[in-house]
């Protein structure tokens, strides 16, 4: 079976992942809505997962895909806890604008 990277090239996957990751970083910095910040974090995690899978094909080794599974498990746990915190913040403060959550500011 032919290696898919012979036709696409690993560098295209690297470009795609880097741009996707940077879009995620941009979202975290640009938006104030906490849910969109969470979504940006998910985009970043997905960019890294994609790069893992691409390099797994590059090395013809399954271990990269195992790491993607673990990162998915961590992402699921992170989202569950994060959204619970968000709901509780919303219940107390009636906003999820991260610019307004500055109770801890000294």
């Amino acid at each position: 079976m032919d290696n898919i990277l012979n036709q696409i090239g690993i560098e295209n996957y690297i470009f795609l992942s880097v741009i996707l990751f940077c879009i995620g970083v941009f979202g975290v910095l640009y938006r104030r809505n906490a849910i969109v910040v969470f979504m940006s974090i998910e985009i970043m995690l997905n960019a890294i997962n994609l790069l893992f899978a691409a390099f797994s094909t590059y090395h013809q080794d399954a271990q990269g895909q195992i790491f993607v599974f673990f990162s998915m498990a961590v992402a699921a746990a992170e989202v569950a806890v994060g959204l619970a915190i968000l709901v509780s913040i919303f219940r107390n403060m009636h906003t999820i604008d991260v610019g307004k959550l500055k109770n801890l500011k000294g």
Binding site: I4, L29, F38, L86
Partner: protein, 180 residues
């Protein structure tokens, strides 16, 4: 280093990859840019679906379907429920100061530049040909054996992590009783 793609005689796989990449990047950008949280979530679903398509293109079938199930089936539904619970659909986000937007855009460009430079100049750069060992390395059979032999302990820790996350989510979202 950076080869200009030959559009005239691109193969089918290259065309599929280009279309999927454009969909991925466009929907990811719209996820950030769109003002309504519900639209953000829908765009993000399309983005994840196209990433699943990328996994299928890499012949990682199991990963593609786990991505579909976990991200679209679980995480995005959770987010959609949260958005609906908070009733945020008519959002009035305050206008951001210009310095914030400028800083975000500048950091976006700089990070793209730096990361691409790092990856492109790192040592194991491909020189056009890729090895094909011919062995099966991404079927569920191989992955399962690897996961339950070599990565047994991290696997168990992942399950403990999910359990703890579940308990934490329940505890956090429980309504506190009013003090009498």
């Amino acid at each position: 280093m950076i080869t200009i793609p030959d559009i005239a005689n691109a193969t089918a796989i290259q065309i599929i990859f280009s279309v999927l990449s454009i969909v991925t990047l466009a929907t990811a950008f719209l996820t950030i840019y769109s003002k309504k949280p519900m639209h953000n979530a829908i765009y993000l679903v399309i983005c994840f679906a196209s990433i699943s398509g990328h996994y299928l293109l890499l012949n990682a079938q199991f990963l593609a379907f786990v991505n579909l199930i976990v991200y679209i089936g679980a995480i995005m539904i959770l987010m959609l429920f949260t958005i609906m619970l908070m009733n945020l659909n008519n959002e009035d986000e305050v206008h951001k100061p210009r310095i914030t937007r400028l800083g975000a855009i500048v950091l976006f460009c700089l990070m793209c530049l730096v990361l691409i430079a790092i990856f492109m100049n790192s040592k194991p750069i491909a020189d056009g040909s890729y090895e094909v060992t011919g062995e099966d390395y991404q079927s569920i059979n191989v992955l399962g054996k690897l996961l339950l032999n070599e990565y047994m302990v991290p696997f168990e820790f992942a399950s403990v992590l999910l359990l703890v996350a579940m308990i934490g989510a329940v505890l956090l979202s429980k309504k506190e009783k009013l003090e009498k």
